[in-house]
């Protein structure tokens, strides 16, 4: 158990000392995910980065791009590489997979399992 459910409201996260680099536990619209705090690009502290959506081409939108799935991606503060929090992956670099951990919520307790 790392914390109680109310300590990580939707749209927020906390980093816990799990593994070599720590693990960020995120509440994404009520679903909890855990991802290693380490960017596969150059080793930046991924979980200190901003949480946002991802851009897609959209001819109808101003600037020709829209942001979709807001709050489901984390961007490394060093070089802005973005990763899907749920899977720890990016379609841009398929060879990169950030370790993710299954998360359970039991009796309002958030449990990260290895």
């Amino acid at each position: 158990m790392v914390c109680t459910e109310d300590e990580i409201p939707p749209g927020t996260h906390k980093v816990f000392p799990i593994g070599r680099h720590g693990v960020g536990v995120y509440n994404v619209n009520g679903a909890f995910y855990a991802i290693a705090n380490y960017c596969p690009h150059e080793g930046g502290p991924l979980c200190t980065g901003r949480v946002h959506g991802r851009s897609v081409v959209s001819d109808d939108a101003p600037g020709g791009a829209s942001v979709i799935r807001d709050g489901e991606f984390v961007y490394c503060p060093w070089h802005q590489w973005g990763f899907e929090i749920a899977t720890g992956t990016t379609a841009v670099k398929p060879e990169w997979s950030i370790r993710t951990y299954p998360v359970k919520v039991l009796d309002h307790k958030v449990i990260v399992t290895a």
Partner: protein, 154 residues
Amino acid sequence: MRTAVIRVNLNPAGDLPGDRLAAAVEELRSSGLEVIAPDFTRVPAHAREIELLLPGEDTAVLSAWAADRCARALGASGPVAGAATFLSRGTDEDALGVVSAFGLTATIERTWNNDQEEIVTVTIPRAGARRAPESRLHTALEAALNAEVRIVYA
């Protein structure tokens, strides 16, 4: 076995209503598949992409299966599989998968130091040392394992 993340654009033409796509996702989930899907009302019509989490290694086979399965759930042809990636749960298979993505082979050995911190030694044939920059491989492995990684060439 590794878990692949197969991306499928359900309707690249953007001509189907969102509730039909949502019904297809529900059908996929009710059949036991793990699916990550956006709120289709908040995504441009041509970019309504979902992700299927499937056990397996062969992304070509999995992508073809996923596109076909989505077409059946949708009751229409047209779903197109996109980029495929792999989840990492920090297993040896995951580490070897990362190594293979760099075109290399390796053996994995896990040990623990006196502080009970895990150390993963990845041994790569010396002939492969020139195929991939060691620093790139090292950060990729540390991210996939969240453990100390030591690369040795033998």
